[in-house]
Amino acid sequence: MNDKRPGLEPLTCPVLLPAKDTVLLGHGSGGRLTAELVRKLFLPAFHNPALARLDDQAVISLDGLRLAFTTDSFVVQPLFFPGGDIGSLAVHGTVNDLAMGGAQPLCLSAAFILEEGLPLATLERVVRSMQEAAAAVGVEIVTGDTKVVEKGSGDGLFINTTGLGVVPAGVELSADRARPGDRVLLSGSLGEHGIAVLARREGLEFDCPIESDSAPLHTLVAAMLSVSRAIRCLRDPTRGGLATALNEIAAQSRVGIRIEEAAIPVREEVQGACELLGLDPLYVANEGKLVAIVAPEVAEPLLAALRAHPLGARAQLIGAVTDGRPGEVVLRTRLGTSRLVDMLSGDQLPRIC
């Protein structure tokens, strides 16, 4: 570093952490620690072109058919929360990962890791909820697996679902396709899932209970694709929230993204909870929202298509792709100033005061 100020001694670190030789909870936050783990450990080991795209799903061509393939594990606590449960979430999450590739979901697998001592009634309730969610989507759970671990080796119940879908001809969605001038659409208000789960887990009570937005987005995506194929990329901003999803797109497309604070919808209950806890709704998880990068000329018709669908009624045009610094997401505040919207290192931690 060239430092022009005299008398400024180079910083020798008094408090450097030891080499990160263990897995921390932050490695599962979806933030920078997760990205580092993927980049440094998984990608080099499994290296292949389908994986390298780092989309929510891999697209594999087979005899002229393009299959979307994805997997996701669900470790949510509590198992039941306002607006959903681990079962419906396990269906919606994987269906949405397929839908973000523009795929029509075909079928799912379900694998259960059960902790010794879990009441069978709990499992039954979760399974029923999964079946109802799958039926509502119109997919079947066609294969599965069950493992049981000793008491203390799990947290009641973990579920993994894998999904298979078909990508229609001419649909080409990927996080590396954003171009300067493209528009950013958001299908609805932020943060409801994350706050609903947090509130239930921590026993926080609000005047208006906040429900998770957990929902399958494949029909919303189909409605968009029926209007235009000039959609570059879709993402469901789950853990890490909208901020993380946009950072990933900006990094993979090597573009800048600029969003408008005033255009981003946040329900009042969620805003209130975030104010109280010192959290930023931009980083809170959603399970029934999507963010779309679309060509500028189709932004208006696509916004109209989103708003015509019950899951996109509060959709907004929130910003644009720019030729700013590659990988950088900038927010224009209500005051007209600009600030970075960075990826977080790990989970958001509530502030002390």
């Binding site: 570093m1 430092d3 100020r5 400024l8 001694e9 180079p10 910083l11 020798t12 670190c13 008094p14 408090v15 450097l16 952490l17 030891p18 263990t22 897995v23 921390l24 909870l25 932050g26 920078r32 620690l33 580092e36 921590e202 926080l204 800048g256 600029r258 009042e268 805003q271 209130g272 104010e275 806890l277 010192g278 720019t322 700013g324 610094r325 950088e328 900038v330 505040t333 209500r334 005051l335 007209g336 100033t337 600009s338 600030r339 970075l340 960075d342 977080l344 290192s345 790990g346 958001q348 931690l349 509530p350 502030r351 002390i352 005061c353």
Partner: protein, 365 residues
Amino acid sequence: MKFIDEYRDPRLAHALVARITRRVTRPWVLMEICGGQTHTLMRYGIDSLLPPQIELVHGPGCPVCVTPLEIVDKAIRLASLPEVTFVSYGDMLRVPGSETDLFHVKAAGGDVRVVYSPMDALRLARAQPERQVVFFAIGFETTAPANARAAWQARREGLKNFSLLVSHVLVPPAIRLLLGSPVNRVQGFIAPGHVCTVMGYREYEALSRDFRVPIVVGGFEPLDLLEAIAMLVEQLEQGRAETENQYVRSVTCEGNRPAQQIMEEVFEVCDRQWRGLGWIPGSGLRLRPELAAFDAERIFGLADTGVEEPPECQSAQVLQGLKKPLDCPAFGNRCTPENPLGAPMVSAEGACAAYYQYRRPAAGR
């Protein structure tokens, strides 16, 4: 949203900026004490709205940042004990001690819990009488009353498995230290609104008098801070040095008496080491001798190790407002939230972390 949007109104904000611009005739260096205020300034880019004569420097009011290394090491030792459930506010988990942090202790099997209130720690103690529950009682005068209340309640219930690792700090002695320093640059202070909600602002009037320095008790929303800056600029331009209250919707001159009473009942003033600032006389709170049964340091026999911050750590200069985070050669390259070299990069309230999150060099502004 009611009681939020009013204080972020762009039209009113720009009117306050115009008022500041009209009044200012020469350079002034102002300091906000509280990390929450630093966070608001960065999050809304308020410094970029101000006329160039106003320089904002950031004070030592981040409780996580100033908790001394010695105490962090003690917390890590306690949390590593098999019989201990260690309970903390979330921010403290990432703070590096001499060798590790609480997140790593947790990953290695330590029973570390995050709570939102010390009362949750009491609940844990009642629910698991076979375990020792230790609460990490840190923070300024804002968190002290609730933490005092937890100790008070534990004594009333006769809990035998609850204790506190106390490292409370007080704001006015730190301002006194900054003002007494021969290298002080700060000409006006925004006093921390939530601390003053508890304590009132009599102590700040004494500071204004003793050092002829204007102080404005300020809130935490953009309009609060802009109005506080306007009030400071007006005092400075008029040659006044008084303590004024901008945050009238929360702060009274005498503060919250019941909160002060429970603090006085449970804690006594002591000298305290601040990370980055060193020992400051009368700047801390510790448990009174009659509550020694709840003092984790005594119960677990934690001796002082005398570990010191090496003097070259630049966080000291950041916390005193002598340097800004961007002046540090390590900022953003060798020092990041993933690999913090110092505490101000750790906490969301730390000045370096606020700059890193909202304002890296050449950010598209």
